[in-house]
Subunit: 170 residues, 2 copies
Amino acid sequence: MRRTKLDRIDRQILSDLQDNGRMTNVELAQRAGISAPPCLRRVRALEESGYIKGYHAEVDEKFLGYGVTVFAFVGLKSQAKTDLVNFEDKVNGWPLVRECHMLQGETDFLLKIVARDMESYNKFLTEELTEEENVAHVRSAQGIHASKRSFGVPIDLSDSDDAVYDGESD
Amino acid sequence: MRRTKLDRIDRQILSDLQDNGRMTNVELAQRAGISAPPCLRRVRALEESGYIKGYHAEVDEKFLGYGVTVFAFVGLKSQAKTDLVNFEDKVNGWPLVRECHMLQGETDFLLKIVARDMESYNKFLTEELTEEENVAHVRSAQGIHASKRSFGVPIDLSDSDDAVYDGESD
DNA sequence: CTTGAAAAATGGCCCGA
DNA sequence: TCGGGCCATTTTTCAAG
């Protein structure tokens, strides 16, 4: 399941695929400096061991009519485990909520919401989110624009065989 | 450049590629109910017209040793256009900052930062972020876990030829 | 790593609404 | 005329040597 270490080639592959998820295996191999078959084996291994969790097309929200990104900080009345899970389940049922992060400290959750316009967001806010029994307060901050949007994590391409995770997933 | 409308087939393709960015063109075609060549033509058109901005592998942060996600709310002293751009340029040079959103209202920027541990985050915070001339205040909220992480936008797969963006990109 | 067969991508051409 | 389907060639994938 979990690999011991990633060498420079693995990290090159991860970095390339993070940057261009449809890169051909042969190009991947060229850039990594090995031939195609071993490169493909590495990719499969990275997928199966969980380093690569999936591949996704990046779709332009605005083109699809989603003009508004809002970050909502949600405080709950009860933080009992059952109630937290309950809220997360609710969140999963709302397609407008694209990300939900549980936070340490005063605010309990940070939600990233994408909506067609402020009107639909407000409708979601008043008819769905604040309607929840356990929601104490919501503070919304509308995003004006995303000036940086990197994918995944910074990957060190140097030769060092450094820090890789060795524990459980999630 | 910009397409008139997306039909059900285009939306199916977008949805499928958003979900699995490495889906084969033939499978994509099967699922969309057309043959491979016209399907590929549609994909290329979606790419060239900007509906699809790229493809990315989703890499597990924890496996790569990035155990900590922090959201930082940054207020600037000066919001003059030059200073805003200046800050965004700085942000672009920090690999730990994965996303930067300019916000409406009191807090100026929301940064999503990924770090190996709290120690490295604190180091970044004190030696980089708060060292910036124009940074007035930073409020950090550590993420405990991401309970939801969807990619892109909700895509309506019904037959309606509804709302598609018709303006400029960014 | 190299080879080679199977599958996918992709361009050309013809067809129907 | 704009797409879609069929066919053929090139490229890629991927198992076996």
